[in-house]
């Protein structure tokens, strides 16, 4: 295997992992602080991608469209929190699962009503559509490089926000012990609406940048939502650091598995078996990773609650 291919796949993994982190960060905080399972988190990712695609069509400027879509999705997220999700905090996990599953159905059909069932076309901005030479002889997609840069910037910003601001301190306090935090005067209610807006905004960023690579279509939220859940369970629920480590782990393992497992299998088994079994093994690799992590560390790698 040429080293350039290996490096390219690692970069793909890093890029995917960073986008997963954006999704998982909001999810893990909501989960950790309010003990709330929000299956509709993936729908916000879908809404972000659809808004970006539409706004690119309207304004013609990718970056402006992203900013507007992020703001729009944040607003929708906060509206959802105030109108429906807020009522579910005190309910058991089962009710939360059912209610947010219902929200998925509603939002999916809503999107289908507005935009139709055909996938939307969202292409990378023109200046970034070609490859660039990052090392002598190694070309890599400029857009994917941009995603890595954006992902890293947002991740650093988020870590700074959570670890070095007052609101972040409240968040961490809430994640480790909600009642105690409330008793110490942390304004949980507005904080949570805000947190929901931030989570929705992060979803929209991921949707805007993954849209051109994957596809902008109804149902895009669910497949990635399960991956985001795998990430936060591996990382430990409520921990931002865990979400980052988990996301990078899942992104890299998933990408590398898909790229290299069929090749590796081809060397030990017949091509027939390899072409059948390779993709299957690659698909289950991350779930296997999660099962192994949970087996040895039932609370994930970085448990937020002590």
């Amino acid at each position: 295997m040429p080293p350039s291919l290996f490096l390219e796949q690692m970069l793909n993994g890093l890029q995917f992992g960073l986008m997963l982190f954006l999704l998982a960060a909001g999810l893990t905080l909501v989960f950790g602080i309010m003990d709330m399972i929000n299956l509709a988190h993936g729908s916000l990712y879908m809404i972000g991608a659809y808004l970006t695609a539409t706004l690119v069509g309207l304004t013609g400027v990718f970056w402006l469209a992203v900013v507007l879509a992020v703001l729009g999705t944040a607003l929708i997220g906060m509206l959802l929190e105030v109108s429906i999700l807020r009522q579910l905090y005190r309910r058991d996990h089962l009710s939360q699962v059912l209610a947010t599953f219902a929200l998925i159905l509603i939002l999916n059909e809503g999107v289908r009503l507005i935009w139709g069932s055909q996938p939307l076309l969202l292409s990378a901005p023109e200046g970034l559509s070609g490859p660039v030479e990052i090392l002598p002889g190694l070309f890599y997609s400029a857009f994917r490089l941009t995603i890595i840069a954006v992902g890293l910037a947002v991740a650093v910003l988020l870590l700074l926000l959570v670890n070095h601001t007052r609101a972040g301190m409240w968040l961490r306090a809430g994640a480790s012990n909600r009642e105690m935090a409330q008793a110490m005067g942390v304004p949980i209610k507005p904080l949570f609406t805000l947190l929901f807006g931030v989570g929705a905004a992060l979803c929209a960023v991921a949707g805007a940048f993954l849209g051109p690579i994957l596809a902008v279509q109804v149902g895009m939220g669910e497949s990635i939502l399960i991956l985001a859940f795998v990430v936060i369970v591996i990382g430990g629920i409520g921990s931002i650091k865990g979400a980052l480590v988990g996301a990078l782990l899942v992104g890299i393992v998933d990408t590398a598995g898909r790229a290299f497992l069929p090749l590796l299998l081809g060397q030990v088994a017949s091509p027939e078996v390899a072409s059948n079994l390779g993709p299957a093994l690659a698909s289950i690799l991350i779930y296997l990773l999660m099962a192994v992590v949970l087996f040895f560390k039932p609370q994930g790698l970085f448990p937020a609650r002590t």
Binding site: L94, V97, L105, I106, V233, A280, I284, F295
Partner: protein, 307 residues
């Protein structure tokens, strides 16, 4: 528990339905009833662990789908006798539930939800990857031979009715038995039940295996009904669908699974006729149920009767 008289009346009506349906040209509703009864069985099996055992399994579609796929694969490989196919399918689902349960039951709460989901996803991807068995297109499942009777739409209706009635009776006896009471005690307070000397893990595992096997049985019937094993039966949305039925009907209420399967299937059927955007309606109704009827429809019923 509904009164015995009402139950017998319902059973009588269901038994008398096929001749009436074929005389009046309503065969379509016989198929619909068969489908509803299959879902009632699957949802009731989930209700055993979800409602009575407090184990929120988000991977119940795995057994449902594996049951259906076993029928499809075995008939494709040339086996025709239902007397072989049924036991193999049930044994496979039981084994699968045993392996998944043995590992998953070491975790609790959200982690249990996620690990059962993870196992179901693994099975989904493994099954879909076998191109010779249809891959993502699914696989045709021929109806097997029972020897005693030929399996057509009418006999399948009666077969499903018989299986459902037998399983519900068994489940009714089970939840009232010592085993069922211990299971509910574990749900209410696990450490106290353990302190009383009950082997919590084994009780839960047994219930988990039983529920998985019954879901596999429902999957077998589903394969006979549609004559087709679809990857959708294994997908996580199917697990969510079964869970919706249980929660809609009433978690831990004996008739919750049946009620939820009936109501959700009918709502879907009606809305599908009205609009292509039927899922919007299903979503709104589910949301309203969660917000305003926390104990499901069976809970509403009970509240009205002041029980």
């Amino acid at each position: 528990m509904l009164r015995k008289g009402w139950l017998l009346l319902l059973l009588g009506l269901l038994l008398a339905f096929p001749p009436v349906a074929s005389a009046t040209g309503l065969e379509f509703y016989m198929g619909l009833l068969t489908k509803i009864m299959i879902f009632a069985l699957a949802a009731s099996s989930l209700n055993l662990i979800l409602g009575y055992g407090g184990m929120v399994s988000f991977g119940h579609a795995a057994y449902f789908g594996v049951g259906a796929y076993t029928v499809a694969i075995l008939t494709r490989e040339g086996l025709t006798s239902a007397w072989v196919i049924w036991p193999v399918a049930l044994a496979l689902c039981a084994l699968l539930a045993f392996l998944i349960g043995a590992i998953s039951l070491r975790t609790r709460g959200v982690y249990f939800i996620m690990i059962t989901l993870a196992f179901a996803q693994m099975i989904y991807f493994v099954v879909v990857s076998f191109k010779q068995y249809g891959g993502e297109d699914g696989l045709r499942a021929r109806r097997p031979e029972f020897g005693l009777f030929e399996l057509n739409d009418t006999t399948l209706y009666y077969l499903t009715l018989g299986v459902l009635a037998a399983c519900l009776y068994g489940l009714y006896r089970l939840v009232g038995s010592r085993f069922g009471r211990v299971l509910q005690a574990i749900r209410e307070n696990e450490s106290r039940t353990a302190a009383l000397g009950y082997p919590v893990y084994y009780f839960q595992l047994l219930a988990f295996v039983l529920a998985g096997t019954l879901a596999g049985l429902a999957g077998v019937l589903m394969a006979h009904y549609t004559q087709y094993a679809s990857p959708n039966l294994l997908a996580w949305q199917q697990s969510g669908h079964l869970m919706m039925m249980v929660i809609l009907g009433g978690v831990g209420q004996f008739w919750g699974g049946v009620l939820g399967a009936v109501v959700l299937s009918l709502v879907e059927e009606v809305l599908q006729d009205l609009t292509i955007h039927w899922q919007l309606g299903v979503g709104v109704i589910l949301l309203l149920v969660v917000l305003f009827a926390p104990k499901g429809l069976a809970g509403l019923w009970r509240r009205r009767k002041g029980l």
